[in-house]
Symmetry: C2
Subunit: 233 residues, 2 copies
């Protein structure tokens, strides 16, 4: 019949949160629960939703804080570095893995190679202003880009390397966007608590001849990032 208690609490909490400024610390969960006359579970449910909405950030051992607004990333075939700089933020990258693996059925299909063929696998955490905001896994055919490991500065722009040194010309591409829940491993790499909604982007880029260049799987923190697409009629 009526609204769930945790939603009523959430609504009241928004008022508290707006009176405090950005970055301000919230009282501890146990204190808030007592003040609002609810159990800690109910209070955590409300806080959990506000975190997913990007209004709060929790740091274990420290406290819960009023969050800054979400970043907005362009949904386009441009350099991550340039896109972030254009918005006045400082980009960063950290290589988690750069290895050769064997293409499975799905990957072979996407890159138009044979199952079992070697492919580069580059996994990097993307930072904005020192905060991890995304986890990007890129697969490229070794046969097509045999010199990639020597040519690519691992923390540099892959896009720049491909278009610059390797003479690749990007054509049309398709990107898929959906929400998923991060695995514990992904959450840890993104310094996020698990069971937080993420934005998952799938992309298979092609060159101007329609040949696949890369298969990319990017996982962005849903509480920190949004996307902008430019539509043409």
């Amino acid at each position: 019949m009526s609204e769930p208690l945790h939603f009523v609490v959430k609504t009241k909490l928004v008022d508290v949160l707006e009176r405090l400024g950005e970055g301000a610390a919230l009282p501890p969960e146990r204190v808030l629960a007592k003040e609002f006359g609810v159990s800690r579970w109910t209070m955590r449910q409300a806080i959990r939703e506000l975190i997913a909405d990007g209004r709060l950030r929790a740091r274990q051992g420290q406290g819960t804080f009023v969050a800054t607004p979400k970043l907005v990333q362009p949904l386009a075939l441009v350099s991550y570095t340039e896109a972030l700089r254009a918005q006045g933020h400082t980009p960063g990258r950290e290589v988690v893995a750069f290895e050769e693996v064997i293409a499975d059925v799905e990957l072979a299909e996407q890159l138009k190679v044979a199952e079992g063929d070697p492919v580069h696998r580059l996994e990097r955490v993307l930072f904005a202003d020192g905060q991890p905001i995304g986890l990007e896994t890129t697969h490229l055919s070794v046969a097509r880009f045999p010199t990639l490991r020597e040519v690519l500065e691992p923390t540099g722009s892959l896009y720049r390397c491909l278009t610059g040194r390797l003479g690749v010309r990007f054509g049309e591409g398709e990107e898929l966007v959906e929400t998923v829940i991060a695995t514990p491993r992904e959450a840890e790499l993104l310094k996020a608590t698990q069971s937080l909604p993420m934005l998952l982007l799938h992309r298979t880029s092609r060159d101007t001849d329609g040949r696949p260049i890369e298969a990319v799987r990017s996982l962005y923190r849903g509480d920190r990032v949004g996307f902008r697409a430019t539509l043409r009629p």
Copy 2:
């Protein structure tokens, strides 16, 4: 043993779920919890994440079922009806509200009207194959479209009505995508349980002269829908 228990349970549950077919009923939560030797809370956490991932669907009073794959919607300025039909699904619409309201600061800015000016507010639930998948709220200037209420078939395509009868030519547009948690009202209209991650799309469409046509806020069920964008270099 650093992985949380609910994630271990989630992983095991995926196996169960894959052995059963699409649409099959899962055993009740209480039974599953006992079988896996965990509390109901832990089991529900695992199930909750699988629902968010689009792998399961829960229906109160009935049970939990293996879900069908997500729909993929184009992220473009095309008719919702046509986009769904092209994928072999049956589109549907239900009007929740069609009224005149007063523009607040934000809306006035988006539609380039004065604060306090009258605007149409059209709120509709979008269906695919009889299932509610989205909640679309559109605002248009009354001054610019004074005859809209007489001309528009409320369950018909607004896009078709604007481009057809009213002679509007759509130009470039921008769309913003982010994840949010639905309010209880929104969740109810979408027949979803609350605290489920949703995909929120904001769009302000402009005509070929750059004048604003409509301000749209579309909330899609993140467990049922994904989006596709076509990228140009």
